[in-house]
Amino acid sequence: MAKSVIVSLNNQTSSFSISKIDRSKLYPTRKRIAIDENGLPCTRASIALDGSQVIKSGMTAQGYFSDEGRWVPKDEVVGINPDGSLAELYPSTLGIEQKLEGPVNPSDILSFEVSSVYHLGNEGVDDQLQTELTNGNIFRFPFNYGADFNLETAYLLSNSEGTFCLVGNPKLANWIEEAAVFVPDSLVVSDDDDLDFEMV
């Protein structure tokens, strides 16, 4: 079981249990399955383009390699920031008190790429924080589920269903002027296998 999310507002500490939620826990999901001529499920595999090997489950591994082709063990791997500097390794924030920032502007969440959503269970929530959340206020705090070279951001909010924590990273849209020229880019919208959208 994961450690708790511990946050503080005005020096009053609150603790939440954490449980990840995703679409498949809320709505039906679809999986497309290949079947052979006998109606039995097929197995997906790959074949090298030269046809030399059929690659089945259990035949491959993956890892980091240097320019010279040397396998690099994990403890030699460091984080490199986009500007080329060495990145700090941030430990997990679970079980460690994090200071809440806010209430924040709700629009901030619209400039934020959510990577994970957690439902938070009450393990001892300060009355003031509970009141703020019930009133619709939203708070921000640093979050990392595990150690990582990037420190993610979490938004703490509540609705009639419960208390939630949205984890991710900020994203920036560009301002568009009349003289701007539209240049298409390759959009990444995953072709997932879910279907019915039982909402709104």
Binding site: K31, K56, I176
Partner: protein
């Protein structure tokens, strides 16, 4: 994947508009000191040296065989990098299929139980069709929307000429004034979700407008999930 959508405004006037992905800021990546790092897939075993095959070959002597030799290592294959590959299917008796298999869709309930099996239903993209994406008129305050829906992605609407600039700038101004998002929908009634690619996921679209002088941001926030608590049965299946 389309780079253009066909959208109508509050007055029902429609236009074809470019879209761009709004991406998160660049992040730190794994690397090594004084060099570059690449992540590669490689062969760890050949077809005859997988755990399953060795169990079949040695039976109860499997552990002894591992102690006495290296039956799991095929020196001709192990460590070879895997680059481009093509997907193939193996039949139920693990033979390579030379004809395309048939497909069925299996639908699962949130608790993991099977709901139904049915022939595949092909779903076409609907954001750039003859019927424009509709401005439903249903507005939701930003403060309510962010506490009710999980927005998975955002695309930014972008004009292609002076007329479409006026069209989008007017939309952005109206939405900014209301501090709200307008729900967009597809189909004749505007009640269906937005599908950006064939057989892709359906999203509810919420349009947000921002302006700064004569500049604008018209952001289409896409949601495929409400912020709800799963039923206890489905929560048990995949907790981490």
């Amino acid at each position: 994947m389309t780079n253009t959508i066909h959208i109508a405004n509050a007055k029902g006037r429609d236009a074809s508009i470019g879209i761009l992905a709004v991406k998160p800021k660049a992040q730190a990546l794994p690397g090594i000191l004084n060099g570059t790092l690449s992540f590669r897939r490689y062969f760890a075993a050949s077809e005859n040296c997988t755990d399953g095959e060795l169990q079949k070959k040695f039976g109860n002597d499997y552990s002894n065989a591992l102690i006495e030799g290296d039956p799991e290592i095929d020196m001709e294959v192990i460590g070879r990098a895997i680059s481009d590959t093509q997907t193939v299917f193996l039949s139920s008796d693990k033979k390579l299929m030379f004809a395309e298999p048939n497909f069925i869709d299996v639908v699962y309930n949130p608790d993991g139980s099977e709901k139904e099996r049915r022939p595949p239903i092909e779903v076409a993209s609907n954001v750039n069709s003859d019927i424009p994406i509709k401005w439903t008129g249903r507005k939701i305050a930003i403060s309510e929307a962010v506490r009710r829906f999980m927005f998975r992605r955002t695309v930014q609407l972008c004009h292609s000429d002076g007329l479409s600039f006026d069209f989008l700038f007017e939309m952005a101004t109206e939405l900014e004034k209301d501090k709200s998002l307008v729900l967009l929908g597809t189909g004749e009634k505007g009640s269906s979700p937005l599908i950006f690619q064939s057989n892709g996921r359906g999203y509810r679209g919420f349009l947000e407008g921002r302006t700064d002088g004569k500049r604008y941001q018209l952001l289409l926030h896409l949601s495929d999930m409400e912020l709800k608590v799963p039923s206890p049965k489905s929560a048990e299946t995949t907790n981490d």
